[in-house]
């Protein structure tokens, strides 16, 4: 009961910060609500930008992935992100900021429309970006439900936990806009950095130190491989390094790049970002792996038993049984289970609140969707001119309510594995849109038709992967299903974790083909006018 109360107190504080504490800065115009008046200082910019990226996916998904796959999780996502995200912020984020300042852009689609002299193609880009952002919001609601359910020891059911988190986030985004969201994100980042370290120390000391846990894992042949990367192929590892390209393309990150007061504020973010990643991911991944040695926690033992059953590959097992076992062995809640078992009650509550901090990072995505809708659709098609700026801001708020409600009801269906859902759809799709940004900012000859080709290809390939995976069930671990082959060469394969193209994750061919399409189609079609190009280059 105490942990649940601590988490609820935390939620109340977050609600207060986002909704009321920063009203004295309130600007009632659109730039004030959607971009905090382009006035965020360096520390808030860093902490908030980082907090925006720290979601349920990062905290619960990374620990869950490490629980099943081992230390490779850190190399797959964390260290590649530690390089690629700051580099893209350095080269692309600063230029986005400058263009936003110069041309008063609020969304990326406004920039694309102006840069490529197009209107409806911008609408197509908006639609694809918006649809790809929804899974990100859904995993946050799911993470909220999972966390509250685990922290309360099952007293708060999953559906209610998700509803409470969705309501809190929706409220402060609705009232606080970008400034409220940024301050909440900064507060949440500090919370998680402090309590993440506390969880690591506390669990470590409770089990008598981690060396013993590691030796236990190394002493068992089924778990020893968790401390190496032999469960993952080098091609798969390489594929994952394409995923962080998605970060700068996420609309909430691009929009966030416009909120800095000065370009100088990017410097601290670029330098400290890798350290922040290290501070959060390393404990999460390590604790996820170490959970395999926690045989005194019944819920974790149940997961290990389910995994062992699945590995035995009983040929009489039905698809429903396989899915049931996959859900039972999912490790998204292992950190919470360890905290519940090892930490004192009050501390478990504080740590649960810290995890909740990261889980609730969907606020920026919700605000970004609302911003895009009001700017790229409502305003662009004449709504602002007809009804005025006040109505424009209220439309944004209404959209916040709508998108949160829709995401909540989708989250109730609860597909297994936060990690896979996010990676397969949102991350891969945004990585494939990366050539849009590079083309717009660095290549004069890029055209709207090249942009359209990239966008349609991205949408088509994401739908294709989704259809393929919906129609061909995931095979048992260690087995593959051939989908398309030429002779002995396997082109497309259905794997237990998703889909493989020539041994690579779909994100690799998706991004490469996007790049080729941008180049070839742009070469074949007329460039924008010199008048427009002069304003960009």
């Amino acid at each position: 009961m105490i942990p649940t109360l601590v988490v609820f107190v935390y939620l109340a504080i977050v609600l207060y910060i986002g909704t009321f504490a920063f009203r004295r800065f309130e600007q009632r115009d659109a730039e004030g609500y959607f971009l905090a008046g382009r006035s965020l200082g360096p520390m808030i910019f860093l902490l908030s930008l980082f907090g925006t990226n720290m979601t349920a996916f990062t905290i619960l998904g990374s620990a869950g992935h490490a629980f099943s796959n081992g230390i490779v999780t850190y190399g797959l996502m964390a260290s590649s992100s530690a390089l690629i995200i700051p580099v893209t912020l350095f080269f692309i984020g600063t230029r986005m900021w400058a263009l936003g300042k110069r041309h008063a852009f609020i969304t990326p689609v406004q920039m694309f429309r102006d840069r490529w002299e197009c209107s409806h193609i911008g609408t197509v880009i908006f639609a694809v970006q918006a649809v790809l952002l929804v899974p990100y919001i859904i995993i946050a609601v799911m993470g909220g439900g999972t966390t509250l359910n685990a922290v309360s020891g099952g007293v708060v059911p999953y559906w209610l936990g998700g509803a409470i988190v969705a309501l809190v986030v929706m409220s402060y985004v609705f009232f606080g806009g970008m400034r409220g969201t940024a301050w909440v994100n900064a507060f949440q980042t500090v919370m998680f950095l402090i309590f993440g370290a506390a969880a690591f120390v506390l669990i470590g000391s409770s089990i008598g130190g981690f060396p013993q846990a590691m030796e236990t894992l190394l002493g068992n042949e089924t778990t020893a491989s968790l401390l190496t990367r032999e469960r993952i192929s080098p091609r798969f590892f390489l594929s994952y390094s394409f995923i962080p390209l998605s970060t700068i393309v996420f609309p909430h990150i691009m929009i966030f790049c416009l909120t800095a007061r000065r370009m100088q504020h990017f410097k601290k973010t670029v330098v400290l970002y890798p350290l922040c990643i290290l501070a959060i991911w390393l404990p999460c991944v390590f604790l996820g792996v170490a959970a395999n040695a926690m045989h005194d926690i019944p819920a974790i033992v149940a997961k290990l038993d389910a995994r062992a059953l699945l590995l035995n590959q009983d040929p009489l097992m039905t698809t429903a049984q396989v899915v049931q076992l996959q859900q039972a062995m999912a490790g998204d809640d292992v950190i919470l289970l360890m905290l519940e078992h090892y930490a004192p009650l009050w501390m478990a509550g504080l740590l649960g609140a810290g995890i909740m901090a990261a889980v609730m990072a969907s606020d920026s995505q919700i605000l970004a969707l609302s911003t895009m809708f009001t700017q790229d659709i409502f305003t662009f098609y004449g709504g602002k001119a007809r009804f005025g700026e006040w109505v424009q801001v209220q439309m944004g708020r209404l959209f916040v309510v709508l998108i949160t409600t829709v995401a909540y009801f989708i989250a109730l269906r609860s597909p297994p594995g936060i990690f896979n859902l996010a990676v397969q759809y949102a991350f891969s799709g945004y990585a494939a849109l990366f050539p849009l940004l590079v083309g717009a900012l660095f290549w004069k000859q890029s055209t709207k038709w090249g942009a359209l080709a990239v966008t349609l290809w991205t949408a088509g390939s994401v739908i294709g992967v989704a259809i393929l995976q919906a129609n061909i069930p995931a095979p048992l671990p260690g087995t593959l299903v051939s989908v398309l082959s030429i002779g002995d060469l396997e082109i497309i394969t259905r794997t237990p974790g998703g889909t493989s193209v020539l041994g690579y994750m779909p994100v690799v061919p998706m991004t490469i083909i996007s790049t080729v399409l941008m180049v070839v189609v742009s070469w074949l079609t007329p460039s924008p006018t010199q008048k427009t190009l002069k304003r960009y280059f």
């Binding site: 230390i71 110069r102 041309h103 008063a104 209107s119 590691m214 390489l238 305003t379 004449g382 001119a385």
Partner: protein, 85 residues
Amino acid sequence: MIRWILVFAVVGLYILHQDTWFWETARPLIFGFLPVGLFYHATYSVSIVVLMMLLVRYAWPTHIEDQFEHNSTSRDKRGLSGSSR
């Protein structure tokens, strides 16, 4: 010249991320508990901080920044709402 060196450094670090040398070994356990593959990537993350400091110091796009430091009121609102072409 220094900018090209930094570009090569970024590419070099990306290549170093695809390490295969600790692929199948957990030992030595650094500090008694950290598998060497995980330690490598933690150290790798710290080395990126150094690279980013150099990028910020020697390759910062001052030509873009200067426009706003000296002329912060310049705004061109062309191409925004309703400017359908």
